[in-house]
Symmetry: C2
Subunit: 191 residues, 2 copies
DNA sequence: CCATATCCCAACCGATCGGTTGGAGTCTAG
DNA sequence: CTAGACTCCAACCGATCGGTTGGGATATGG
């Protein structure tokens, strides 16, 4: 049987995603990744060069394309709320990605894989503008940033949620976030 | 001259705040704190027991009371926006505290110093309700959580801001955040 | 004035860190 | 068939980690 080097790479990236999401760059040791992946850690250096370069690859691999196939379902402010719900559900299905986003903001100077992601954000901005025809581009950008911040923050500032709304469960919080996204969208549409 | 043990403690806490804010719990070594504070690291163990207990003390010391003396300046949705601006300005004056909040969410299971902070959040909720008389308590909580998330997220999800609104400076972002807080408050006031 | 409690600090400890190496096993081009 | 490239892994490297210790300096109660 031939070697499945692509699969070995994939296993390293998957384990890296899990470990970095859980404990961040500084909190994760290369040995942890080797253990989680079942791959000898020397392979990580052969494939990726260093722990730091590997981290960048993991971030790019998971964060690049995060918003690409997230369509705005319909038009009007409610569609923006539904879009926020879709992003929320993406975090439900894969909580690592929200945490990776947060680690990126804290541990890195700038965003990883910036080129493609900038254009992806511009795409989403355009889709929001299509859904809210009366909105100008700058307002749509601000709306997008606030919605992403609300959804992502709900997943990463977990301590805050526990302090402010200790009785709410995750579905309550999802509903409130979607509602707030709708409100923001409505304000952008009719200023 | 007598020893100024209170000052030594303070110097350790200050250095811990700086270092933990910059690189997090896992990313900061006890030697770093000793170097930054000018205090021998053995003192940290004498005063605080362990790196972990020291971290909890730093978080409690800086995060407890964060919202205590933040009054809602006036009434109506605009006052809520102004309150968001005050919180923003607090982060401007002391950016460490926003980052500590984010590290807390990522590296800890639950919030530090929960007891007092929960009641502090309840206090702020009450103040928001006073400013928005028609709002019910649950809606006010959700409003508070979203506003704090928006302001804090703008400081900690820095990569996102750079991707979505690359041309905006910090004042633009402050203005947009305040505006969005007003919009959310208006929706809570008149549902 | 002395016992003693506390403070301070350099040196030290075993464990673990990121990263490397040497060599055995596995495939492929000619 | 074989030379050479690639994959894999245990063992290893110096540096740094969190945490400790022993001893000298400083203050205080009797």
């Amino acid at each position: 049987m031939p070697w499945d080097t692509a699969r070995t790479r994939e296993r390293l990236l998957d384990a890296g995603s899990r470990q970095f999401a859980a404990t961040g760059f500084a909190g994760t040791s290369v040995a942890d990744i080797g253990r989680d992946s079942g791959v000898n850690k020397e392979r990580l250096y052969a494939y990726f060069g260093s722990k730091r370069k590997f981290f960048d690859q993991v971030l790019a691999h998971r964060l690049d394309g995060l918003l690409d196939d997230l369509e705005v379902p319909g038009t009007g402010p409610e569609a923006v709320g539904a879009w926020a719900g879709l992003l929320w559900d993406r975090y439900v299905a894969d909580p690592d990605v929200a945490r990776l986003l947060a680690w990126e903001g804290l541990e890195l100077d700038g965003p990883a894989a910036a080129a493609h992601r900038t254009s992806a954000c511009a795409d989403v901005t355009r889709r929001l503008q299509d859904a809210l025809p009366t909105a100008d581009e700058k307002a749509a950008r601000h709306l997008l940033l606030s919605v992403i911040t609300l959804v992502t923050g709900a997943w990463t500032l977990a301590g805050l949620t526990a302090l402010v709304t200790p009785d709410d469960d995750r579905d309550d919080r999802r509903a409130a976030t979607v509602r707030h996204a709708v409100v923001l969208a409505r304000a952008v549409q009719a200023p």
